[in-house]
């Protein structure tokens, strides 16, 4: 009796899903059913569960939701998913928006810089170059005229050359020559570009018709040159040319033939000063200012500092452009030298 009563109070594990399903479906054996009911008697959980369970509802039960939830909480890392991170592709580089933009930017910056430097250079030196080019033309005219006269060439016959090529015309052509204003066809190539040796050969040949034709073309060129519009600035040496035109050529008067710059360079400051004074009174404003500046330099060389200072001061007050700046600079230099 005691053995039979003992199992009334036995505690057993809850019914499994299979057992519950079998019990609900009534597919259990009698022994199994008795054992299950023994447990149901002692277990309120299983008893309450069996009250609500049907064969249909047990089919709907699935533990997939737990797997999903746990995989979300603890994502499993596979080696294949690590591989790309190990290869360094974890940090993705953003594609550049405009790959060509830096090139355009740098080129535009360089272009702007170059332009700026060009403007600065012109402001600093470009305006100074203008009288130098004029001087160079004037200086250039001298050797050419010298070539034409044969002064610098050994064994040259000046008389023949002078007869073949009148000095006045040569000077005029050289002085009036301006590469910017002359068309390519009208440029007298042999007169300018010929070297002394070549010139000698041409002079020895004395091809009068060709020379005459060249002079005629030069004359035409000078006539055409007079038609150049006023907007194009004429070189400073032009007044010298006009002077030479006005005065008849004199072979003996070398002083007049020489340009004031040449005279200045050769140390004949007085003669140069005289010419500059004439230019100051007779020419246009720009050349007048340049002439005044040169005259002031001549005064300085001659030791007449007061006159030089006066001229420079007048230039500073009334002048403009590069002569005014040069005068200002020279005045400052003078003041500095005086202070020292």
């Amino acid at each position: 009796m005691k053995e039979r009563i003992d199992h009334i109070f036995e505690s057993s594990t809850c019914l499994t899903r299979r057992q519950v399903t079998d019990y609900v479906n009534k597919t259990m054996s009698r022994e199994e059913c008795l054992a299950a009911e023994h447990h149901i008697n002692s277990c309120g959980f299983c008893s309450a569960a069996l009250d609500g369970l049907t064969p249909q509802i047990l089919k709907n039960m699935d533990n997939g939701f737990l797997k999903e939830h746990l995989s979300l909480i603890r994502p499993q890392v596979h080696l294949s998913s690590i591989a790309p991170t190990a290869s360094g592709n974890l940090v993705q580089r953003r594609p550049k928006k405009n790959a060509k933009a830096p090139l355009v930017k740098t080129s535009s910056i360089t272009a702007a810089l170059l332009l700026g430097f060009g403007v600065l250079w012109y402001l600093q030196y470009g305006s100074k170059l203008e009288p130098r080019t004029n001087n160079s033309v004037v200086q250039k005219s001298v050797p050419v005229s010298a070539v034409s006269t044969g002064a610098n060439l050994p064994g040259h016959k000046p008389a023949e050359v002078s007869a073949a090529q009148p000095q006045e015309k040569v000077v005029v052509t050289e002085a009036s020559f301006h590469p910017a204003t002359q068309p390519e066809q009208q440029r007298p190539q042999p007169l300018i570009t010929t070297k002394p040796g070549e010139e000698q050969t041409t002079a020895s040949k004395t091809e009068k018709p060709e020379a005459n034709s060249a002079i005629e073309t030069e004359k035409k060129a000078t006539e055409n040159n007079s038609d150049i519009p006023a907007a194009i600035p004429k070189p400073a040496a032009l007044p010298v040319k006009e002077e030479h035109r006005a005065t008849p050529p004199k072979a003996s008067s070398k002083k007049e033939e020489q340009s004031p710059q040449e005279l200045y360079e050769s140390g004949k400051y007085g003669a140069a000063l005289n010419i500059y004074k004439k230019q100051m009174s007779s020419n246009g404003s720009r050349s007048e200012q340049e002439a005044a500046l040169q005259a002031a330099n001549c005064y300085l060389k001659l030791g007449q500092k007061d006159n030089a200072v006066k001229l420079m001061q007048s230039l500073v007050e009334t002048g403009n452009g590069s002569p005014r700046r040069q005068a200002k600079r020279q005045l400052k230099d003078l003041e500095k030298s005086e202070a020292e």
């Binding site: 059913c33 709907n60 039960m61």
Partner: protein
């Protein structure tokens, strides 16, 4: 060093060991085993309270997902009891009812041992029970008849037989307790 154990080995562990492993070792397999053990029972309880299979399935899922947090938040000594109460309370809340009071699921067993009760005490307690309960207990425990057989013999439903048996068992335990107190 963490020792990997198979799902079959997890199934051999008790509820308390599984809970401990989940809380302290964060082993998700333990939850799967606990769901295997009690998922269908929670579903049955939910369906019993809610009377809707779809809602019952959703409630079961909700209870087990909530369990993942609750296991770490609360110190649970009797997992089965706690889960049953949690499922019942959830369904009652769902229905707009107040939570049930904690009641013991397993009334017998651990509290009684051979040394604590005697054959005479049981016989005396059985004699004091009502006739319906006593006859059911006699048919079920002594004559080893199933619910259906008892229900067929008494011309009642199996549910009524089950309820009568559970009630008679509880009263028997109470009477034995009283007899022990007197003695």
């Amino acid at each position: 060093m963490k020792i990997q154990i198979t799902l079959a080995e997890y199934r051999k562990l008790s509820d308390e060991e599984l809970v401990h492993r989940f809380v302290h070792r964060n082993e998700p397999e333990t939850i799967h085993v606990l769901f295997e053990r009690y998922g269908h029972l929670v579903l049955g309880v939910c369906n019993n309270h809610l009377s809707d299979s779809v809602e019952a399935v959703a409630a079961t899922q909700k209870i087990f997902l909530r369990l993942l947090d609750d296991l770490k938040r609360f110190k649970i000594e009797n997992f089965k009891e706690w889960l049953f109460k949690d499922a019942t309370d959830y369904c009652r809340q769902k229905k707009g009812l107040k939570n049930s009071e904690m009641r013991p699921i397993v009334e017998a067993g651990l509290q009684f041992s051979e040394t604590l009760w005697s054959e005479q005490q049981v016989k005396t307690a059985l004699a004091e029970l009502p006739e319906a309960e006593r006859s059911c207990l006699d048919l079920f425990y002594l004559k080893k008849m199933t619910y259906e057989e008892i229900a067929a013999g008494k011309q009642v439903t199996t549910k009524e037989v089950k309820e009568t048996l559970q009630k008679g068992r509880q009263e028997l335990l109470l009477k034995i307790e009283l007899l022990q107190g007197v003695s």
